[in-house]
Symmetry: C2
Subunit: 206 residues, 2 copies
Amino acid sequence: MAEKNDVRCQIIEAAKKRFSHFGYAKTTMAEVAADCSMSPGNLYRFFPGKLDIAECIATQDYEKHLEVLRQLALAPGRSAADRLSDFLFAELRRTYHKLESDPRAYEMATVIAHERPEYANWMLATERKILVQLFQDVEQGGEFFIDDKETTAEMIQSATMKFRYPQLWTRLTLPRLERELEGVLQLIVNGLRREKTVRPASGAAA
Amino acid sequence: MAEKNDVRCQIIEAAKKRFSHFGYAKTTMAEVAADCSMSPGNLYRFFPGKLDIAECIATQDYEKHLEVLRQLALAPGRSAADRLSDFLFAELRRTYHKLESDPRAYEMATVIAHERPEYANWMLATERKILVQLFQDVEQGGEFFIDDKETTAEMIQSATMKFRYPQLWTRLTLPRLERELEGVLQLIVNGLRREKTVRPASGAAA
DNA sequence: AGCCTGAATGATTCGTTGATTGTTCAGGAA
DNA sequence: TTCCTGAACAATCAACGAATCATTCAGGCT
Protein backbone atom coordinates (compact mmCIF):
# COMPACT_ATOMS: atom_id res chain seq x y z
CA MET A 1 0.00 0.00 0.00
CA ALA A 2 2.71 2.45 1.08
CA GLU A 3 4.92 0.96 -1.60
CA LYS A 4 2.31 1.60 -4.25
CA ASN A 5 2.49 5.23 -3.31
CA ASP A 6 6.28 5.23 -3.45
CA VAL A 7 6.20 3.90 -6.96
CA ARG A 8 3.68 6.52 -7.96
CA CYS A 9 5.95 9.21 -6.57
CA GLN A 10 8.90 7.76 -8.38
CA ILE A 11 7.00 7.83 -11.66
CA ILE A 12 5.85 11.37 -11.04
CA GLU A 13 9.36 12.54 -10.29
CA ALA A 14 10.76 10.91 -13.40
CA ALA A 15 7.97 12.33 -15.56
CA LYS A 16 8.38 15.76 -14.00
CA LYS A 17 12.05 15.81 -14.99
CA ARG A 18 11.33 14.62 -18.52
CA PHE A 19 8.38 16.93 -19.06
CA SER A 20 10.25 20.01 -17.90
CA HIS A 21 13.41 19.13 -19.86
CA PHE A 22 11.93 17.98 -23.15
CA GLY A 23 8.26 18.82 -22.98
CA TYR A 24 5.16 16.65 -22.73
CA ALA A 25 4.92 15.59 -26.36
CA LYS A 26 8.59 14.71 -26.69
CA THR A 27 8.55 12.51 -23.62
CA THR A 28 7.64 8.87 -24.22
CA MET A 29 6.17 6.47 -21.75
CA ALA A 30 9.04 4.12 -22.53
CA GLU A 31 11.54 6.74 -21.36
CA VAL A 32 9.70 7.42 -18.13
CA ALA A 33 9.48 3.68 -17.53
CA ALA A 34 13.19 3.25 -18.20
CA ASP A 35 14.00 6.06 -15.75
CA CYS A 36 12.08 4.07 -13.15
CA SER A 37 13.73 0.80 -14.21
CA MET A 38 10.44 -0.72 -15.19
CA SER A 39 8.57 -1.69 -18.31
CA PRO A 40 6.21 0.71 -20.12
CA GLY A 41 3.29 -1.56 -19.38
CA ASN A 42 3.85 -1.34 -15.68
CA LEU A 43 3.18 2.39 -15.68
CA TYR A 44 -0.43 1.57 -16.42
CA ARG A 45 -0.82 -0.18 -13.13
CA PHE A 46 -0.28 3.19 -11.46
CA PHE A 47 -1.81 5.66 -13.91
CA PRO A 48 -4.61 5.25 -16.44
CA GLY A 49 -2.51 7.04 -19.06
CA LYS A 50 0.16 9.56 -19.90
CA LEU A 51 -2.14 12.53 -19.52
CA ASP A 52 -3.04 11.46 -16.01
CA ILE A 53 0.59 11.68 -14.99
CA ALA A 54 0.72 15.24 -16.28
CA GLU A 55 -2.55 16.04 -14.52
CA CYS A 56 -1.19 14.66 -11.29
CA ILE A 57 1.93 16.80 -11.54
CA ALA A 58 -0.16 19.88 -12.30
CA THR A 59 -2.44 19.16 -9.37
CA GLN A 60 0.42 18.75 -6.90
CA ASP A 61 1.72 22.14 -7.92
CA TYR A 62 -1.72 23.68 -7.87
CA GLU A 63 -2.47 22.45 -4.36
CA LYS A 64 0.48 24.47 -3.07
CA HIS A 65 -0.88 27.52 -4.78
CA LEU A 66 -4.31 26.88 -3.30
CA GLU A 67 -2.80 26.92 0.15
CA VAL A 68 -1.37 30.38 -0.52
CA LEU A 69 -4.73 31.56 -1.82
CA ARG A 70 -6.48 30.28 1.27
CA GLN A 71 -4.07 32.13 3.53
CA LEU A 72 -4.53 35.36 1.64
CA ALA A 73 -8.30 35.03 1.57
CA LEU A 74 -8.56 34.34 5.28
CA ALA A 75 -5.73 36.57 6.49
CA PRO A 76 -6.92 38.02 9.78
CA GLY A 77 -6.78 41.77 10.27
CA ARG A 78 -7.00 42.67 6.61
CA SER A 79 -9.98 44.34 5.01
CA ALA A 80 -12.27 42.39 2.73
CA ALA A 81 -11.26 44.48 -0.26
CA ASP A 82 -7.59 43.88 0.41
CA ARG A 83 -8.09 40.15 0.78
CA LEU A 84 -9.96 39.98 -2.48
CA SER A 85 -7.24 42.03 -4.11
CA ASP A 86 -4.46 39.84 -2.75
CA PHE A 87 -6.31 36.76 -3.89
CA LEU A 88 -6.79 37.93 -7.46
CA PHE A 89 -3.32 39.40 -7.81
CA ALA A 90 -1.73 36.20 -6.51
CA GLU A 91 -3.70 34.32 -9.12
CA LEU A 92 -2.58 36.59 -11.93
CA ARG A 93 1.07 36.68 -10.93
CA ARG A 94 1.38 32.98 -10.38
CA THR A 95 0.06 31.93 -13.77
CA TYR A 96 1.87 34.75 -15.50
CA HIS A 97 5.22 33.82 -14.04
CA LYS A 98 4.66 30.13 -14.47
CA LEU A 99 3.91 30.44 -18.17
CA GLU A 100 6.60 33.08 -18.59
CA SER A 101 9.47 31.27 -16.93
CA ASP A 102 8.75 27.77 -18.19
CA PRO A 103 7.71 27.35 -21.82
CA ARG A 104 6.92 23.71 -21.02
CA ALA A 105 4.26 24.82 -18.56
CA TYR A 106 2.45 26.45 -21.44
CA GLU A 107 2.42 23.18 -23.36
CA MET A 108 1.16 21.23 -20.36
CA ALA A 109 -1.53 23.81 -19.66
CA THR A 110 -2.88 23.75 -23.20
CA VAL A 111 -2.79 19.96 -23.45
CA ILE A 112 -4.68 19.50 -20.20
CA ALA A 113 -7.12 22.31 -20.98
CA HIS A 114 -7.83 20.82 -24.37
CA GLU A 115 -8.02 17.17 -23.42
CA ARG A 116 -9.67 17.58 -20.00
CA PRO A 117 -12.04 20.54 -20.11
CA GLU A 118 -13.49 19.57 -16.73
CA TYR A 119 -10.14 20.19 -15.10
CA ALA A 120 -10.40 23.95 -15.54
CA ASN A 121 -13.93 23.82 -14.14
CA TRP A 122 -12.71 21.94 -11.13
CA MET A 123 -10.08 24.59 -10.47
CA LEU A 124 -12.65 27.35 -10.78
CA ALA A 125 -15.02 25.57 -8.42
CA THR A 126 -12.25 25.03 -5.88
CA GLU A 127 -11.24 28.66 -5.86
CA ARG A 128 -14.87 29.69 -5.69
CA LYS A 129 -15.14 27.81 -2.41
CA ILE A 130 -12.28 29.90 -1.06
CA LEU A 131 -13.99 33.11 -2.18
CA VAL A 132 -17.18 32.03 -0.45
CA GLN A 133 -15.19 31.38 2.71
CA LEU A 134 -13.70 34.84 2.40
CA PHE A 135 -17.17 36.35 2.18
CA GLN A 136 -18.38 34.39 5.17
CA ASP A 137 -15.29 35.38 7.12
CA VAL A 138 -15.87 39.12 6.58
CA GLU A 139 -19.64 38.94 6.83
CA GLN A 140 -19.76 40.56 10.25
CA GLY A 141 -17.43 43.39 9.21
CA GLY A 142 -20.17 45.08 7.23
CA GLU A 143 -17.77 46.06 4.47
CA PHE A 144 -19.39 43.99 1.73
CA PHE A 145 -23.10 43.46 1.22
CA ILE A 146 -23.64 40.12 -0.47
CA ASP A 147 -26.71 37.98 -0.32
CA ASP A 148 -25.82 35.10 -2.62
CA LYS A 149 -22.15 34.40 -1.91
CA GLU A 150 -21.81 31.52 -4.34
CA THR A 151 -23.24 33.52 -7.23
CA THR A 152 -21.19 36.58 -6.38
CA ALA A 153 -18.02 34.50 -6.36
CA GLU A 154 -18.99 33.17 -9.75
CA MET A 155 -19.49 36.65 -11.13
CA ILE A 156 -16.14 37.80 -9.83
CA GLN A 157 -14.56 34.88 -11.61
CA SER A 158 -16.38 35.82 -14.79
CA ALA A 159 -15.24 39.40 -14.60
CA THR A 160 -11.63 38.48 -13.95
CA MET A 161 -11.39 35.77 -16.58
CA LYS A 162 -8.90 37.76 -18.59
CA PHE A 163 -6.42 37.56 -15.73
CA ARG A 164 -6.64 33.84 -15.13
CA TYR A 165 -4.57 32.56 -18.06
CA PRO A 166 -3.49 35.90 -19.46
CA GLN A 167 -1.05 34.56 -22.02
CA LEU A 168 -3.67 32.42 -23.67
CA TRP A 169 -5.75 35.43 -24.67
CA THR A 170 -3.61 38.51 -24.91
CA ARG A 171 -0.01 39.57 -25.31
CA LEU A 172 -0.12 42.17 -22.57
CA THR A 173 2.79 42.62 -20.20
CA LEU A 174 2.43 41.90 -16.49
CA PRO A 175 2.45 45.59 -15.42
CA ARG A 176 -0.27 46.33 -17.93
CA LEU A 177 -2.32 43.38 -16.72
CA GLU A 178 -1.83 44.45 -13.13
CA ARG A 179 -3.10 47.92 -13.90
CA GLU A 180 -6.15 46.48 -15.60
CA LEU A 181 -6.87 44.10 -12.77
CA GLU A 182 -6.55 46.99 -10.34
CA GLY A 183 -9.17 48.88 -12.33
CA VAL A 184 -11.56 45.97 -12.64
CA LEU A 185 -11.19 45.31 -8.94
CA GLN A 186 -12.08 48.88 -8.12
CA LEU A 187 -15.15 48.53 -10.30
CA ILE A 188 -16.17 45.31 -8.59
CA VAL A 189 -15.68 46.66 -5.12
CA ASN A 190 -17.04 50.19 -5.52
CA GLY A 191 -19.26 49.91 -8.54
CA LEU A 192 -20.30 52.89 -10.62
CA ARG A 193 -22.92 54.26 -8.28
CA ARG A 194 -20.55 55.48 -5.53
CA GLU A 195 -19.85 58.87 -4.04
CA LYS A 196 -17.35 60.84 -6.11
CA THR A 197 -14.14 58.73 -6.12
CA VAL A 198 -12.96 56.91 -3.09
CA ARG A 199 -9.56 55.39 -3.79
CA PRO A 200 -9.85 51.76 -2.70
CA ALA A 201 -7.32 52.17 0.12
CA SER A 202 -6.65 49.64 2.91
CA GLY A 203 -8.63 49.93 6.17
CA ALA A 204 -12.38 49.72 5.84
CA ALA A 205 -13.71 46.89 8.02
CA ALA A 206 -15.45 47.84 11.25
CA MET B 1 -14.54 56.93 -59.49
CA ALA B 2 -18.12 55.83 -58.93
CA GLU B 3 -17.44 52.86 -61.19
CA LYS B 4 -14.47 51.81 -59.11
CA ASN B 5 -16.80 51.59 -56.18
CA ASP B 6 -19.33 49.56 -58.15
CA VAL B 7 -16.68 47.01 -59.01
CA ARG B 8 -15.62 46.81 -55.39
CA CYS B 9 -19.20 46.14 -54.40
CA GLN B 10 -19.54 43.49 -57.07
CA ILE B 11 -16.44 41.75 -55.79
CA ILE B 12 -17.66 41.96 -52.21
CA GLU B 13 -21.04 40.51 -53.12
CA ALA B 14 -19.47 37.64 -55.04
CA ALA B 15 -17.03 36.92 -52.22
CA LYS B 16 -19.79 37.14 -49.64
CA LYS B 17 -21.77 34.44 -51.45
CA ARG B 18 -18.75 32.18 -51.85
CA PHE B 19 -17.53 32.65 -48.29
CA SER B 20 -20.89 31.90 -46.75
CA HIS B 21 -21.55 28.91 -49.02
CA PHE B 22 -18.15 27.21 -49.02
CA GLY B 23 -16.14 29.02 -46.37
CA TYR B 24 -13.15 31.33 -46.58
CA ALA B 25 -10.47 28.69 -47.07
CA LYS B 26 -12.39 26.79 -49.75
CA THR B 27 -13.03 29.89 -51.81
CA THR B 28 -10.33 30.75 -54.34
CA MET B 29 -9.60 34.14 -55.78
CA ALA B 30 -10.01 32.64 -59.26
CA GLU B 31 -13.60 31.69 -58.41
CA VAL B 32 -14.49 35.12 -57.09
CA ALA B 33 -12.91 36.65 -60.19
CA ALA B 34 -14.87 34.31 -62.46
CA ASP B 35 -18.11 35.23 -60.68
CA CYS B 36 -17.31 38.84 -61.53
CA SER B 37 -16.31 37.93 -65.10
CA MET B 38 -12.79 39.18 -64.60
CA SER B 39 -9.30 37.80 -64.22
CA PRO B 40 -7.83 36.93 -60.84
CA GLY B 41 -5.17 39.57 -61.29
CA ASN B 42 -7.77 42.29 -61.63
CA LEU B 43 -9.02 41.68 -58.10
CA TYR B 44 -5.76 43.08 -56.84
CA ARG B 45 -6.52 46.44 -58.37
CA PHE B 46 -9.37 46.72 -55.88
CA PHE B 47 -8.14 44.86 -52.82
CA PRO B 48 -4.62 44.28 -51.50
CA GLY B 49 -5.41 40.61 -50.92
CA LYS B 50 -7.96 37.94 -50.13
CA LEU B 51 -8.00 38.67 -46.43
CA ASP B 52 -8.83 42.29 -47.09
CA ILE B 53 -11.99 41.26 -48.90
CA ALA B 54 -13.03 39.26 -45.87
CA GLU B 55 -12.15 42.14 -43.58
CA CYS B 56 -14.22 44.48 -45.69
CA ILE B 57 -17.23 42.18 -45.51
CA ALA B 58 -16.82 41.86 -41.76
CA THR B 59 -16.53 45.60 -41.35
CA GLN B 60 -19.66 46.33 -43.40
CA ASP B 61 -21.58 44.01 -41.15
CA TYR B 62 -19.98 45.37 -38.02
CA GLU B 63 -20.80 48.99 -38.91
CA LYS B 64 -24.49 48.12 -38.89
CA HIS B 65 -24.07 46.60 -35.46
CA LEU B 66 -22.22 49.70 -34.29
CA GLU B 67 -25.15 51.83 -35.30
CA VAL B 68 -27.42 49.73 -33.11
CA LEU B 69 -24.99 50.01 -30.23
CA ARG B 70 -24.85 53.79 -30.60
CA GLN B 71 -28.62 54.04 -30.49
CA LEU B 72 -28.82 51.89 -27.38
CA ALA B 73 -26.02 53.77 -25.66
CA LEU B 74 -27.54 57.18 -26.35
CA ALA B 75 -31.21 56.27 -26.08
CA PRO B 76 -32.88 59.26 -24.44
CA GLY B 77 -35.05 58.67 -21.43
CA ARG B 78 -33.34 55.50 -20.29
CA SER B 79 -31.22 55.24 -17.17
CA ALA B 80 -27.47 54.94 -17.44
CA ALA B 81 -27.56 51.42 -16.01
CA ASP B 82 -30.16 50.34 -18.52
CA ARG B 83 -28.21 51.77 -21.42
CA LEU B 84 -25.08 50.01 -20.33
CA SER B 85 -27.06 46.82 -19.93
CA ASP B 86 -28.65 47.13 -23.37
CA PHE B 87 -25.26 47.82 -24.89
CA LEU B 88 -23.56 44.78 -23.41
CA PHE B 89 -26.47 42.42 -24.00
CA ALA B 90 -26.73 43.51 -27.63
CA GLU B 91 -23.04 42.76 -27.97
CA LEU B 92 -23.38 39.30 -26.45
CA ARG B 93 -26.47 38.32 -28.40
CA ARG B 94 -25.19 39.52 -31.74
CA THR B 95 -21.94 37.56 -31.65
CA TYR B 96 -23.61 34.56 -30.12
CA HIS B 97 -26.27 34.35 -32.79
CA LYS B 98 -23.84 35.15 -35.56
CA LEU B 99 -21.48 32.33 -34.63
CA GLU B 100 -24.37 30.03 -33.81
CA SER B 101 -26.35 30.41 -37.00
CA ASP B 102 -23.49 30.58 -39.48
CA PRO B 103 -20.59 28.17 -39.00
CA ARG B 104 -18.71 30.09 -41.69
CA ALA B 105 -18.76 33.20 -39.53
CA TYR B 106 -16.72 31.31 -36.99
CA GLU B 107 -14.07 30.56 -39.58
CA MET B 108 -13.95 34.15 -40.78
CA ALA B 109 -13.71 35.45 -37.22
CA THR B 110 -10.81 33.19 -36.31
CA VAL B 111 -8.92 33.87 -39.53
CA ILE B 112 -9.19 37.62 -39.13
CA ALA B 113 -8.45 37.50 -35.42
CA HIS B 114 -5.38 35.39 -36.06
CA GLU B 115 -4.03 37.16 -39.12
CA ARG B 116 -4.95 40.72 -38.10
CA PRO B 117 -4.69 41.06 -34.35
CA GLU B 118 -5.08 44.85 -34.61
CA TYR B 119 -8.57 44.39 -35.98
CA ALA B 120 -9.95 43.21 -32.65
CA ASN B 121 -8.24 46.12 -30.96
CA TRP B 122 -9.81 48.53 -33.39
CA MET B 123 -13.26 47.12 -32.62
CA LEU B 124 -12.64 47.44 -28.90
CA ALA B 125 -11.44 51.02 -29.31
CA THR B 126 -14.47 51.91 -31.42
CA GLU B 127 -16.90 50.54 -28.90
CA ARG B 128 -15.01 52.21 -26.12
CA LYS B 129 -15.68 55.54 -27.77
CA ILE B 130 -19.38 54.77 -27.64
CA LEU B 131 -19.15 53.89 -23.97
CA VAL B 132 -17.37 57.16 -23.27
CA GLN B 133 -20.14 59.01 -25.10
CA LEU B 134 -22.66 57.16 -22.98
CA PHE B 135 -20.88 58.30 -19.81
CA GLN B 136 -20.73 61.88 -21.03
CA ASP B 137 -24.37 61.75 -21.98
CA VAL B 138 -25.51 60.68 -18.51
CA GLU B 139 -22.95 62.77 -16.64
CA GLN B 140 -25.50 65.32 -15.45
CA GLY B 141 -27.91 62.64 -14.26
CA GLY B 142 -25.77 61.88 -11.23
CA GLU B 143 -26.41 58.18 -11.51
CA PHE B 144 -22.81 57.18 -12.18
CA PHE B 145 -19.73 58.71 -10.61
CA ILE B 146 -16.82 58.35 -13.01
CA ASP B 147 -13.76 60.51 -13.15
CA ASP B 148 -11.72 58.83 -15.91
CA LYS B 149 -14.29 57.80 -18.52
CA GLU B 150 -11.83 56.30 -20.94
CA THR B 151 -10.25 54.08 -18.30
CA THR B 152 -13.59 53.07 -16.88
CA ALA B 153 -14.77 52.03 -20.34
CA GLU B 154 -11.61 49.97 -20.71
CA MET B 155 -12.22 48.24 -17.40
CA ILE B 156 -15.79 47.41 -18.31
CA GLN B 157 -14.50 45.83 -21.49
CA SER B 158 -11.98 43.84 -19.49
CA ALA B 159 -14.61 42.60 -17.10
CA THR B 160 -17.00 41.58 -19.87
CA MET B 161 -14.42 39.93 -22.08
CA LYS B 162 -16.00 36.54 -21.60
CA PHE B 163 -19.16 37.76 -23.30
CA ARG B 164 -17.54 39.28 -26.35
CA TYR B 165 -16.73 36.11 -28.32
CA PRO B 166 -18.34 33.61 -25.99
CA GLN B 167 -17.98 30.59 -28.23
CA LEU B 168 -14.23 31.00 -28.48
CA TRP B 169 -13.74 30.48 -24.78
CA THR B 170 -16.57 28.47 -23.34
CA ARG B 171 -19.34 26.13 -24.36
CA LEU B 172 -22.01 27.83 -22.31
CA THR B 173 -25.52 28.28 -23.66
CA LEU B 174 -26.92 31.73 -24.33
CA PRO B 175 -29.31 31.73 -21.34
CA ARG B 176 -26.45 30.79 -19.08
CA LEU B 177 -24.26 33.53 -20.55
CA GLU B 178 -27.07 36.03 -20.17
CA ARG B 179 -27.46 35.18 -16.53
CA GLU B 180 -23.75 35.60 -15.98
CA LEU B 181 -23.63 38.89 -17.78
CA GLU B 182 -26.58 40.07 -15.71
CA GLY B 183 -24.62 39.23 -12.58
CA VAL B 184 -21.41 40.85 -13.72
CA LEU B 185 -23.32 43.93 -14.72
CA GLN B 186 -24.90 44.19 -11.32
CA LEU B 187 -21.43 43.93 -9.80
CA ILE B 188 -20.09 46.65 -12.07
CA VAL B 189 -22.96 49.00 -11.44
CA ASN B 190 -23.51 48.48 -7.75
CA GLY B 191 -20.22 47.07 -6.53
CA LEU B 192 -19.80 45.10 -3.34
CA ARG B 193 -19.96 48.02 -0.95
CA ARG B 194 -23.66 48.87 -1.43
CA GLU B 195 -26.61 48.91 0.90
CA LYS B 196 -28.24 45.50 1.31
CA THR B 197 -29.37 44.48 -2.22
CA VAL B 198 -30.89 46.92 -4.61
CA ARG B 199 -32.16 45.09 -7.65
CA PRO B 200 -30.75 47.05 -10.60
CA ALA B 201 -34.18 48.16 -11.79
CA SER B 202 -34.93 50.87 -14.37
CA GLY B 203 -35.45 54.47 -13.24
CA ALA B 204 -32.55 56.05 -11.36
CA ALA B 205 -31.50 59.27 -13.11
CA ALA B 206 -32.44 62.55 -11.44
C1' DA C 1 -1.45 55.95 -72.38
C1' DG C 2 -4.67 53.38 -69.29
C1' DC C 3 -6.91 48.77 -68.23
C1' DC C 4 -6.98 44.36 -68.00
C1' DT C 5 -5.48 39.52 -68.83
C1' DG C 6 -3.62 35.09 -67.75
C1' DA C 7 0.53 32.48 -67.41
C1' DA C 8 4.61 32.24 -64.15
C1' DT C 9 6.08 31.99 -59.32
C1' DG C 10 6.75 30.53 -54.96
C1' DA C 11 4.63 29.79 -50.68
C1' DT C 12 1.34 26.83 -48.54
C1' DT C 13 -1.53 22.93 -48.18
C1' DC C 14 -2.63 18.09 -49.02
C1' DG C 15 -2.33 13.16 -49.27
C1' DT C 16 0.32 9.36 -48.76
C1' DT C 17 3.64 6.48 -46.62
C1' DG C 18 6.59 4.78 -43.09
C1' DA C 19 7.94 5.23 -38.44
C1' DT C 20 6.89 6.31 -33.63
C1' DT C 21 4.46 5.77 -29.52
C1' DG C 22 0.50 5.17 -26.15
C1' DT C 23 -1.84 1.31 -24.62
C1' DT C 24 -3.03 -3.65 -24.07
C1' DC C 25 -2.50 -8.30 -22.83
C1' DA C 26 -0.78 -13.10 -23.10
C1' DG C 27 2.38 -15.18 -20.67
C1' DG C 28 6.49 -15.79 -17.42
C1' DA C 29 8.79 -15.00 -12.85
C1' DA C 30 8.45 -14.91 -7.83
C1' DT D 1 -1.84 -16.28 -6.95
C1' DT D 2 0.25 -11.76 -7.62
C1' DC D 3 3.16 -8.84 -9.97
C1' DC D 4 5.54 -7.55 -13.84
C1' DT D 5 7.38 -7.88 -18.64
C1' DG D 6 7.81 -6.80 -23.44
C1' DA D 7 6.01 -7.91 -27.94
C1' DA D 8 1.82 -6.73 -30.58
C1' DC D 9 -1.67 -3.42 -32.08
C1' DA D 10 -3.82 0.64 -33.38
C1' DA D 11 -3.62 5.36 -33.39
C1' DT D 12 -0.94 9.30 -34.23
C1' DC D 13 2.82 11.80 -36.20
C1' DA D 14 6.52 13.30 -39.42
C1' DA D 15 8.32 13.55 -43.87
C1' DC D 16 8.03 14.59 -48.43
C1' DG D 17 6.54 14.88 -53.10
C1' DA D 18 2.52 16.64 -55.62
C1' DA D 19 -0.94 19.84 -56.25
C1' DT D 20 -3.23 24.07 -55.23
C1' DC D 21 -3.71 28.77 -54.86
C1' DA D 22 -2.63 33.75 -53.62
C1' DT D 23 -0.10 37.05 -55.76
C1' DT D 24 2.73 39.32 -59.44
C1' DC D 25 3.83 41.21 -63.80
C1' DA D 26 5.07 41.18 -68.75
C1' DG D 27 2.52 41.98 -72.33
C1' DG D 28 -1.89 42.71 -75.26
C1' DC D 29 -6.18 45.15 -76.07
C1' DT D 30 -8.83 49.55 -76.47
